[in-house]
């Protein structure tokens, strides 16, 4: 089985791009499964099901979704292997901009959209910087110049990645993208022992543990103060 992790800011077009790419792959007879990691709510599982793709969803609730991802991706991978998928796609919404759910030796894709603002590439950190492939969506509604400026910004943050433009609505570019997702010769049997590409923050304060009261005396653990 192949495993691909796809991440990106909320509503950047991850599901749209995955579904279009999956369509091309399924035509070739590739058996696909999906898993969606999100925080509080997602309907993406319905979209995958409707496209005939078996799917699992995981909601992290009060945890950072990327932390939740790491603690669960191994089991999900085992599920994918048991189901005999050729390709398992993990979609996760990058919410905290600090973590990234990428694993060494596992293909990592970041989906980011042209509408998100020229400074976004700089802001989203490891999720963009550590990706192998960067997909830029929603080029159909901004000008050519803005697409070029945005792509240059992305490139400056991650010059090593393959950068592709895909229209999530029409699927233009998705066939081409799909050819990079699946490789018959790649085989993943387990994630045990594999490492994250980038460590997640160690922050653990009393508020992470459920504290709700405000005030110096309630702040414990890893607390940092603003410079005023």
């Amino acid at each position: 089985m192949n495993l691909v992790t796809i991440s990106g800011p909320p509503s950047s077009g991850k599901t749209a791009v995955i579904l279009k790419a999956a369509e091309s792959l399924m035509k070739r007879g590739v058996k696909i499964g999906a898993v969606k990691f999100d925080c509080l709510h997602t309907d993406d599982d319905l979209a995958y099901e409707k496209a005939g793709i078996p799917v699992k969803k995981g909601l992290s609730g009060s945890l950072c979704p990327d932390h939740y991802f790491v603690s669960n991706i191994e089991a999900v991978t085992d599920w994918g292997i048991k189901e005999n998928f050729d390709l398992l796609i993990s979609e996760s919404a990058g919410l905290c901009n600090r973590c990234s759910p990428y694993i060494k030796e596992i293909k990592a894709v970041c989906v980011i959209d042209n509408l998100s603002g020229i400074n976004t590439p700089k802001k989203i950190g490891p999720m963009l910087r550590m990706a192998d492939i960067i997909v830029i969506t929603k080029g159909d509604i901004v000008s050519q110049a803005e697409r070029e400026v945005f792509a240059a910004g992305v490139y400056a943050v991650n010059p090593s990645a393959i950068i592709m433009h895909i229209n999530g609505l029409t699927g233009q570019g998705a066939f081409e993208f799909s050819t990079l997702l699946y490789d018959e010769n790649t085989q993943i049997d387990t994630l045990k022992g594999k490492k994250l590409r980038f460590s997640m923050p160690s922050a653990l304060c009393s508020y992470c543990l459920g504290e709700t009261r405000i005030g110096e005396s309630y702040q414990m653990g890893n607390v940092r103060k603003i410079n005023l």
């Binding site: 590439p121 000008s143 050519q144 070029e148 400026v149 792509a151 400056a156 066939f175 980038f198």
Partner: protein, 335 residues
Amino acid sequence: MSQQELLQYSPQQLLKIYPFLESFFAGQNWILKQNHQQKLIELLDQLDEEQQEDHAFDKADFIEQLHDFISQMEAFVGQKEKSVETLTVLPGNDKSGNPENFEQLIFKTKTITSIVGPTGSGKSRLLADIEWVAQADTPTLRKVLINNEKPDNSWRFSGNKKLVAQLSQNMNFVMDLSVQEFLELHAKSRMAANADVLIKRIIDAANELAGEKFLPETPITSLSGGQSRALMIADTALLSQSPVVLIDEIENAGIDRKKALKILTGEDKIVLMATHDPILALMADQRIVIKNGGIHKIIQTTEGEKAMLKQLEMADQKLQNLRARLRGGEVLAEA
């Protein structure tokens, strides 16, 4: 320079050798806060775990990215790339698997090709084949040659180098900038030489295309439809690096379409234009008819059609004048 050698320089020294690093450093938050006279290796050594975590930063990754950026940029800036003169499409199959019935389809710089055919007939697939410089590895099995040769893969994967620029009716400016600021930003991202001159030329050209003039200080989001279109076309002609421009219909309002096409061909672009408007279709040197996912016909615009175009343009002019007079409150009478 190797990764090890790079470490022996300070950011300031590196910027002197590679001025293009400005954009790379701008994308790396942590380095902005450092002393730019110190060697990189020292700067990196000073970063403790906590600081690395604060900036979501990994030393080995940084130096690798820096190295990649420099080698790619040197290739990009240094070697004056051989320009694209012709693009050739070799036939594949339509949706039903029937072979396309033509020998080769050639697009040359400075020429216009119109593309006709119902929506969903395969226009986007043709465009995607061109963008991906297909090598019989897309569903149509077409092949695309550049300057009559099999092109290299960098057209597919690089963020800085795209074969096709696109203009369509749905596209709008979304950035919160003035025309001048916006063009400066675009010129900078392209590392264009003599940006000031270029920017002035773009604004002048756009103002010539659009009926109503705008100023460099005008916010791009408050341009009228015609003005936006005009600016997009002038900017694409003069500042986009892509040799091919695809236009998805230009509405017949607020913009001089003939001049717009002239600006693009004048800048050595290969112009492709999806349209059903007879005036635009006949302005092209050739047109291709798409049917059932395949290229059905390639037609060179005939002399007869060119003559017809003259008449159509006159009729169109007449309509436009009537429209203007109506708007001006006149009572229309046959002249």
